[in-house]
Symmetry: C2
Subunit: 501 residues, 2 copies
């Protein structure tokens, strides 16, 4: 009878691969992220925010086209058609679903509605090193509060959340700015006319994206993008906003308005926006935010006004803010560089209006949890939650498996993490290697000899050196860190090892 | 100038709707699920299982076609093509991704590998009442352990997990069976020949699905499906397996083999499988599982052998198990009915083989967390985690917002959940309604009069009756549950109310 040969069978086998741009998270990685999310959620909760969990899937219609990279508004989501009806997509952030919820349940939600949300979001982008197509966000937003007091609350809460997540005070800075001040500078530069708010909008969009790249391109790079355009190292040319040198000067003066302290910066900003009413409104809002940060005990070592912060998103209408880590890490080439932004947000008064036609004030922040975890790892401070392995009960004899199970159950009933070795028990060395691999603090041995005498061997694996690959049972038992105890003393003996630390 | 009229604008507005078959979870719902997942994860962790988080997205190739509803193997997933390359899909369970991981990282994972995973899964099915296209699963699996000791461990752990989740002992039962016993009964009925294992596979598939419907259709319904077929109430006809009456008798004898206790059931099963070697092997495995459950202190009040449990999935190869809630709830028509299954699993030794060509033993359970939450709600025992609202600091005067922020920050620094009212402060009645809506235990008032005298009003909202919609500030202050305290005594006064409570 004809049978498939091995090769043909192999050719039909599916590839065991994570899809391109996605990754798996194991053990301590999962525990560390959970510990961080729990710590941040506790801060949000203490501030009166309520959890909300929307589905991963939204209609494309509800999501809209508000992806951060405004250069490519039509791309970036994973989408498909649902049974020849609606187009569905995976959410690309947690803000668009909130806007949908705020519109859908507007009669039932408290107003203002403070909510937090955490979970994965998806971007259909070209993956790169450290750049994944699924990652976690952890957001807090206030919907229905027109006052910038809501923005000040979120900025202070962001500082507390970062500290709860393990970022030391001094290692981060929350930077606050206001789009109205930017619009005031644009008005002073002749790029914005309150009487015709839509005129020159494309040019202002280019300006926005150009100044958002200040960190990366420096002042000269931004100046080029404000003017005719810029050719990058690869030779690609990015068309600029076409501003005159005088106009570019006003924009660059805005970006460079930061002074030694908040009041001095505010005074300088008032000069830059000149007679612009919207600009003056923005400066006044920044003053209020600064006063309310102070009232909450958030000083300049934690939050500051920084005109260079603009945030790339087109939909912000007032205060914008971000949190950057201030320490340096080594890049792939070993060169020191700033870690940079780990959270950002702002006021977006028009997102809910898309659905209802009525403007609903809203403001909120998104923390990039995966970047924050990477930062902690770079500082050598990754949370150690749940990294201790279980006590491993070894199996000397398949026929006494029930005894092994009873011992593990006894340990667990005492609150001690424990498991029975469930591989092939014949090679005892493999059991020791397994216990080592699992980071087990202790191993339990009960051979027929021990069983007959009513005792067990308890081995302290944290004291012992690395277990040699081929260690025999006898050699292992001879080590000093092993003790024979009465069977009834099992739990006490293990607890003594754990307490020893 | 021509402007859009309201109608045209409304026509262009997106609908604010959760996609068909999806839902949003608010506040206490999110907190209750999180509390349940945390409780179950703690049990899994204590048993030595490690967390694993795979992405929501897998290649269609890696997922395979193992959806539970084996009648429609080609449907049921949300899928799309990735940039004209691989087809991608949302995972429909947590087992298929585990099989992919076990194959992909087989050189790096400990063996046996115990892992747990929790998160949403997606099914592209017709939504119905209480039937959603995204729901949570909470799985634990052991890969690489050939012994049924691994199955016994998971069955005992399942009982503990259900109790940790709030299901009282006596309100659930873990039921264990073994596909090998079923195959033995099939062999006894002439439906399975170990020498030609693939022959009559379609008929056996129909038998499997028929007996999985015993709960719903009763013995007569199953007998019809074992024979020529069955016409349901709507008039639809389901083709049967075509068994003779004598063959059907053997299968039905298997299903009815449960006796008063485990040993009696095992003895009866040994009779039903007759001389079948595979059947005898299955009975012996069930005996081992029973002994190991006993060793872990899991008695017949928590787990039992039940031949009627077969699980619909085609891929199980040995032990199968499920947990059912034993209490009755009222259905939509108010009639009492069994709540039924909330968790299920079994041994699937061939899933990893799809990728590697080598058989890898594996067994695991999946808990349907959303069904379990519904069960707790039906018993009036929904976890109350995080349901207390924040202390609300009211705002009498916009100019003293900084004072309000300072008070809220002070309360939070003392560990008390607190927020400032951020809506329009002009109508004080709205602030009181808001505090009521938020479930606030207390409200703080500091008018200009209080500020001048260095005091604040602290209102105990849990003592007071429902706040009347239009209550005036004066009427509200007059209530006995309100106290004037020195500003410096704010935290102590609020804590006294919380402790009272």
């Amino acid at each position: 009878m004809a049978r498939d040969d091995g090769k043909a069978a192999a050719a039909r086998r599916p590839r065991a691969e994570t899809p391109r741009g996605f990754r798996d998270y194991f053990g301590a990685e999962v525990a560390a992220r959970k510990a961080m999310l729990d710590a941040i959620a506790a801060v949000y909760h203490r501030h009166g925010f309520e959890p909300l969990e929307t589905p991963a899937v939204e209609t494309v219609e509800a999501l809209g086209k508000f992806l951060p990279d405004v250069d490519r508004p039509n791309e970036g989501v994973f989408a498909w058609q649902d049974d020849d009806r609606d187009w569905l997509a995976l959410r690309y952030d947690l803000t668009a679903p909130l806007a949908r919820v705020a519109a859908q349940y507007r009669a039932d939600l408290p107003s203002p509605y403070r909510r937090y949300a955490m979970g994965p979001v998806w971007r259909n982008e070209k993956p790169g090193p450290g750049r994944f197509r699924q990652f976690y966000q952890c957001d807090a937003d206030t919907v229905g509060a027109p006052s910038v007091a809501a923005d000040a609350e979120i900025c202070a809460m962001l500082a507390e959340a970062l500290e709860a997540a393990g970022i030391a005070r001094g290692d981060y800075r929350v930077r606050v700015n206001n789009r109205k001040v930017l619009n005031g500078a644009m008005e002073a530069a002749g790029l914005f006319d309150p009487a015709e708010p839509d005129r020159l909008a494309p040019e202002r969009g280019i300006v926005l994206r150009a100044i958002d790249k200040l960190d990366r391109l420096g002042e000269e790079g931004v100046r080029a993008l404000l003017g005719e355009g810029r050719r990058d190292e690869s030779g690609d040319f990015t068309k600029g906003a076409g501003l005159s040198a005088a106009q570019a000067d006003v924009v660059l003066a805005f970006l460079a308005a930061k002074r030694a302290d908040g009041p001095a910066t505010l005074a300088r900003l008032a000069e830059v926006v000149g007679g612009s009413a919207i600009g003056a409104e923005g400066v006044a809002e920044l003053e209020t935010v600064a006063a309310l940060l102070d009232a909450q005990g958030v000083g300049p070592d934690r939050a500051e006004i920084d005109p260079a912060v603009v945030r790339g998103l087109g939909y912000y209408t007032g205060p914008v803010y971000e949190a950057a880590l201030t320490f340096e890490i080594a890049d792939e080439q070993g060169r020191p560089r700033q870690f940079g932004s780990v959270a950002g947000g702002g006021r977006y008064d028009d997102l809910v209006k898309r659905f209802t036609g009525q403007s609903v004030p809203a403001t909120g922040v998104s923390i990039g949890v995966d970047r924050l975890l990477a930062a902690l790892a770079a500082r050598g401070r990754a949370p150690a939650a749940g990294t201790m392995g279980p006590v491993v009960v070894t199996v000397m004899d398949r026929d006494r498996m029930a005894d092994c199970f009873a011992m593990a159950a006894e340990l667990r009933a005492a609150g001690i993490r424990a498991e029975v070795y469930l591989g092939n028990p014949r090679n005892f060395g493999n059991q020791l290697k397994y216990a080592d691999r699992r980071g087990a603090p202790a191993a339990i041995i009960e051979g027929s000899d021990e069983a007959a005498r009513g005792v067990v061997q308890v081995k302290d694996l944290r004291l012992g050196a690395q277990i040699a690959a081929g260690a025999s049972l006898e050699a292992w038992k001879a080590r000093p860190a092993q003790a024979e105890v009465p069977r009834a003393g099992l739990v006490a003996a293990v607890r003594a090892i754990l307490d020893r630390g």
